[in-house]
């Protein structure tokens, strides 16, 4: 195995990794949005449009007002949007950046981290805009913005762990990619976006609480509405869902890196 004669200090490695991730973020922004400035706007419009549509449907069915529906669904949708954006992009990450692996300080996880950070920063920005939009429409300021941000952070980490695993797995088995896309849509009704656990009958509560995103949505609503609903969540369960996929994903990427030819 390769080694350097004088081992670099950990702090130098950390600094180099930050430099690489920073450069990758700038590069990724260029490739994704560089030629079309509208790309940045689309980042806002997609969750806005879908969230508002869901709010309107619920309005027509006569539950609650449009404003509280907007707060519940549009803001909730951003969280799901972040999750899906990270997970669905995972399978293309290695292929799209292969040429960059010719620089030995660029590692496979760096490619993923850069993409996930872009996605999450954008979604956090959209969330802030939506919160202020809701207040402008006459809503109340969130009970705990910190809890809302924490839910965004947890969603980012949960999606990241899964994305690392998916990235490693799809580079070995191509067919898996379609399965991942289908799954990310199929899980929408069970994600926790459309309900509070408290609204469900007891037997269903036990089932949906196996889904990690449900806990994260409950935390979001706790931050948004405080005592209005009775949120149910267990963050240590979510932590497990973050740690185990990270370990498996990073180990998988290590194996993949050694097997990966550089054409």
């Amino acid at each position: 195995m390769s080694q350097s004669a004088s081992r670099p200090l950990l702090i130098d490695c950390a600094r180099m990794q930050l430099r690489v991730i920073g450069a990758l973020i700038i590069r990724e922004m260029h490739t994704r949005f560089g030629r079309h400035r509208l790309g940045y706007l689309w980042l806002f419009f997609e969750p806005l449009l879908l969230g508002t549509m869901i709010a309107v449907i619920h309005q027509v069915r006569g539950t609650d007002g449009i404003r509280s529906n907007f707060e519940f669904f549009a803001i909730g949708y951003i969280l799901f949007f972040n999750f899906r954006g990270i997970v669905n992009r995972a399978s293309g990450t290695i292929g799209a950046n292969r040429g960059l692996l010719y620089h030995r300080q660029v590692t496979l996880p760096d490619l993923f981290y850069a993409r996930h950070l872009i996605e999450s920063i954008a979604c956090t920005g959209v969330m802030v805009v939506f919160v202020f939009a809701a207040v402008a429409m006459g809503g109340e300021f969130p009970d705990s913005p910190v809890k809302m941000l924490a839910s965004m952070g947890l969603m980012f980490l949960l999606a990241q762990g899964l994305a690392l695993m998916i990235g490693a797995a799809t580079s070995e088995w191509d067919g898996l990619e379609r399965f991942v896309h289908a799954m990310s849509y199929l899980m929408l009704p069970f994600s926790g976006l459309f309900f509070m656990v408290d609204w469900l009958p007891e037997w269903m509560q036990e089932i949906v609480l196996w889904v990690p995103t449900v806990h994260i949505f409950e935390l979001l609503r706790d931050g948004q509405f405080g005592d209005t609903y009775r949120p149910v969540y267990d963050l240590s369960y979510v932590a497990g869902w973050i740690l185990v996929p990270h370990l498996l994903g990073l180990a998988g990427l290590r194996l993949v890196r050694n097997r990966l030819g550089l054409e």
Binding site: S2, R19, L100, R257
Partner: protein, 212 residues
């Protein structure tokens, strides 16, 4: 300061069994040496370059790197094809901790790309790509430049400017063109059947290579 290979072996899995590309390569490249590695097509030149550059792990053996070695500079290596030459220069400058602006300025004055500097790299000819790669690597500055069959280093205006700039730094040039080795190198080796043999005399290396 050197780059050292000790007992490097590399094999790839095939449908049946494994293909052994390198079978025990030992070498020391010291700082300031300009070494030409000659090999016929399919002898594992590119594999050797990637292992020297630290972007592919050997199956067995040890690499010791106590000088800065560039990435394997070739026609395709290290670029994002959809981005312009200037954007690629900036990216590479950033990951090596170099100022982005000065790097682009250097590339602009050195690589002779003209308007193409702001065009996507996939529109480049192979000669332009290799000029871009070499120019960026010169801007970043390494103790040793690792060059894989770059077209642009031949006897062209750019090639002569590149050779002039190399006088202070080291070079490992992997190629199948004996004329390039004669032009740029002061030491030569031949890669054949998975092993690397060094010759102190370049003519002797070329003679061996030509008889293969």
């Amino acid at each position: 300061m050197a780059l050292e290979l000790i007992g490097i072996e590399k094999s790839y899995p095939m449908n049946v069994g494994r293909k052994h590309v390198l079978r025990g390569v030992n070498a020391v490249f010291r700082k300031g040496e300009r070494v030409g590695v000659l090999g016929r097509n399919g002898t594992g030149k590119s594999t050797l370059v990637r292992i020297l550059g630290g972007v592919e792990a050997p199956t067995r053996g040890t690499i010791r790197r106590s000088m800065s070695v560039s990435w394997p500079i070739g026609m395709a290596a290290g670029f994002q094809p959809a981005l312009s030459g200037a954007d690629n220069s900036r990216f590479i400058a950033r990951i090596y901790g170099r100022p982005a602006k000065e790097t682009v300025e250097f590339v602009e004055s050195f690589a002779e790309l003209g308007e193409y500097l702001n065009m996507p790299v996939h529109t480049y000819s192979s000669g332009m790509r290799s000029r871009l790669g070499l120019a960026i690597s010169l801007a970043v500055e390494f103790d040793c430049f690792l060059v894989d069959e770059a077209l642009a280093v031949g006897d062209t205006k750019f090639g002569r400017a590149f050779a002039a700039r190399l006088q202070r730094a080291g070079l490992i040039l992997v190629t199948h063109q004996p004329s390039l080795v004669r032009q740029l190198c002061n030491r030569a080796a031949v890669l054949d059947q998975g092993t690397l043999t060094f010759y102190e005399d370049i003519d002797e290396a070329l003679a061996t290579y030509n008889s293969l």
